[in-house]
Amino acid sequence: MKSAWIICRRELDSYFTSPIAWLLLTLYSIIFGFFFWNYLGDFVIEGMEMQMSGQMQPMSVNEQIIRPLLANTTFLGLFFVPLITMRLFAEEKRNGTIELLATSPVRDIEIILGKWFAATILYCMILLFGGINFAFVFRYGHPDWKPMLIGYLGVVLQAAALLAVGTFISTLTKNQIIAGASTFAACLLLWVFSWVSGYDSSTWAQVLSYMSVPVHYESFGRGVLSSKDAIYYLSVMFLGLFFTARSMESLRWRS
C-alpha cells in the first residue's frame, strides 16, 4: 500500500501543478457561494417578513440553508467528477507513462487505489472550500452540526462512488475528452434512473430505481446515518474499482 500512497501523492501534485485543481476550486467556490448567498437571502427575507407580520413560525438553519445546499452540492458532483477523473488513466496512456507504472514493482490495484484516493482527496478539498461559507452560519446562528456532518459524509460517499466509475471509464480510452464525456453520461444516467419509479412499479423499475445515485443520498441529507444507503455507495465504489482492475488486466493481455 506504500506504492499506492506514492502514486496518490504524485497525482495530487499533478492536479495542483497543472491548473486543473485551482480551476475546479475556483469554479466550485463561485457556484457554491452563489447558492449560499441565495439560500441565505431567502432565509433572511422570510425571517424579516414573519417579524413584520407578527406570525412567528419555527425556522431552522439546518433545514432551510444547510440541507438544500448540500443537496445542490451532490448535484454539482455530476459536473466535477468527470473533470477530475477524465485524465487519470487516459493521460497516462497517451503520454506512454503507463508503461513506467506497469513495469514498476507495483501491483495494478495499488496504481488504481492511488489514483482513486487522489481524486477523492481532491474532491474533499473542493468541498472544504465550499464549507468555508458555513463558518458564517455557525458564527451568527446555532445550527446543529451533527446532521450537517452526516450530510457531508453522504456527499463524500456519493462522490467517491462516482469517482470510481469515472476512474474505470478513464482506463478505456487514450482520449481525455471521450473519457470525460462518457463519465458525465454514465453519472447522469445513474442520476435519473429513479425517474422510472414515477410511473412504473414493476420489479425491474424498482431495481433501476435502486441503482439511482441520489435516491441513496436522501437519508444522509436528512441527517440520518443509514447503513443500507452507505452499503449502496460502498458497492458502487467496489464495482467501479473492480472493473478498473479488470480493464487494466485486459490492457495487459490484449494490447
Binding site: R10, S14, T17, G96, I98, E99, P105, V106
Partner: protein
C-alpha cells in the same frame, strides 16, 4: 542474465513474435535489430512484464517474467520508445518519484538521484519542468529513470530515435559507459548503432529470429568474405568492362565480381573473395599483365547493413553506403521496407 525460450506473442490477427529463443550473458551489451514492425518492442514489453507472453518463457536475473513478475520488475530498468515522462514535473521531482516507485528507501533515494543526475549529465536541468526540456535531455532523463534503482538489466527501446546526430552520439556514449554495471539490451533499426555500440546482435524479422551472433562474426559472415575494390582503366583506346570481369573471375579464390561503377575510360569493380586467400596480389598482377591500368585497389569491409539485408531477405544491397566512406554517417536510417503488423 536473460534467457528467452520459444517466446511467442499473438494478437487477434497477427503473430507479433514467433518462437524466439536467445540468451544474454551478464554485462553484455546486445543490439536487438530488425526493421520497423519486426516485433522488437513486443519482445521488450514481454521481458519488462508490461504484458505476458502468449507462449514460451523468459527469465530475467533468474526470475520468470510471468510467475515472478514483481521480482523481474525490481531487476529491470526500462526505457520505452517514448520516454515515460510526466511533463508537468521537475526533473528531480520526477526522478524521486520513480525511485520511490521502484522501492528505494528514503536514505538511499537522495544518493541515487544525485548519482543519476551526474551520470546522465542532467544536473543542470534538475529544476526545470520536463515539458520544457529538449529531446536529447528528455532521452537522458529517460535513461536516468531506467537506472535509478541500479537494475541488473537495462532494456532500451530505440534509445536514439528522433535525436539529432550530436545527441545520438552523446546518448550512445552514455549507453556504452553504462555497459560495465548493467546487462543491456537495446533495440534499433539503425545499423551503425549496433556496429558502434553493441558486442552481440540479435536480428529479428517479421517476429522470427533470423540470426544471433557477435557483431564481428556477423560482419564476416553471410558472404564469408572480404571484398576488394578495384579501379581499372584502359591504357589506350576504348574500355570494355566485360573482359576485365571475366579475367578477374578466373583468379582462384574469387567468388564474385561486380561492376560497381562505369567510368569514362574505365570501371570500378567490387571483388569478393573468401577470407585468407590473399587475392589482392593476384588481382593486381592480372590487371597489369593484361595491359590495363590499375588506378586504385583497396579492401572494403562488408557492412553489417549488407549482412542484415541478406538475412532479412529484403533484396539486394542496392543502397549500400558509398564505397569510400570509412564509417557510414551515424544517422543513416536504414531503408527497411514497411513490414506489416
Amino acid at each position: 542474465m536473460i534467457t528467452v525460450t520459444d517466446l511467442t506473442k499473438r494478437y487477434a490477427r497477427t503473430t507479433a513474435v514467433d518462437h524466439i529463443s536467445f540468451s544474454v550473458n551478464k554485462g553484455e551489451i546486445v543490439g536487438f535489430l530488425g526493421p520497423n514492425g519486426a516485433g522488437k518492442t513486443t519482445t521488450m514489453r514481454m521481458l519488462t512484464c508490461f504484458f505476458p507472453p502468449t507462449a514460451g518463457t523468459a527469465t530475467v536475473a533468474g526470475f520468470d517474467v510471468f510467475s515472478q513478475s514483481m521480482e523481474v520488475r525490481r531487476h529491470i530498468g526500462y526505457l520505452p520508445e517514448a520516454p515515460p515522462l510526466y511533463l508537468e514535473m521537475e526533473t528531480i521531482e520526477y526522478l524521486r518519484f520513480v525511485g520511490r516507485l521502484k522501492g528505494l528507501a528514503a536514505a538511499e533515494l537522495e544518493k541515487r538521484v544525485a548519482f543519476v543526475l551526474d551520470r546522465c549529465a542532467i544536473a543542470d536541468v534538475q529544476h526545470k519542468l520536463l515539458g520544457k526540456l529538449s529531446k536529447g535531455y528528455r532521452q537522458r532523463v529517460g535513461l536516468a529513470q531506467a537506472i535509478i534503482h541500479n537494475p541488473d538489466v537495462l532494456i532500451l527501446d530505440e534509445p536514439t530515435s528522433g535525436l539529432d546526430p550530436k545527441q545520438i552520439n552523446e546518448t550512445r556514449e552514455l549507453i556504452k559507459s553504462l555497459a560495465g554495471d548493467h546487462t543491456i539490451i537495446l533495440s534499433t533499426h539503425i545499423l551503425p548503432e549496433v556496429e558502434q555500440t553493441c558486442e552481440q546482435v540479435i536480428i529479428i524479422n517479421k517476429g522470427k529470429l533470423v540470426a544471433t551472433d557477435s557483431v564481428h562474426n556477423l560482419q564476416a559472415r553471410a558472404r564469408g568474405a572480404e571484398s576488394v575494390l578495384l579501379a581499372v582503366a584502359a591504357r589506350t583506346g576504348s574500355f570494355g568492362a566485360q573482359p576485365v570481369q571475366t579475367r578477374l573471375e578466373r583468379i582462384p579464390g574469387v567468388s564474385r565480381v561486380l561492376v560497381k561503377e562505369q567510368l569514362e575510360r574505365g570501371a570500378v569493380f567490387e571483388v569478393e573473395a573468401s577470407k585468407g586467400q590473399l587475392v589482392r596480389g593476384d588481382l593486381a598482377r592480372a590487371i597489369v599483365e593484361s595491359g590495363w591500368d590499375l588506378n586504385e585497389l583497396r579492401s572494403s569491409a562488408i557492412s553489417l547493413e549488407e549482412v542484415f539485408l541478406q538475412l532479412t531477405g529484403s533484396g539486394a544491397a542496392t543502397e549500400s553506403p558509398e564505397p569510400g566512406s570509412e564509417a557510414p554517417p551515424p544517422s543513416t536510417d536504414f531503408p527497411a521496407p514497411e513490414a506489416n503488423a
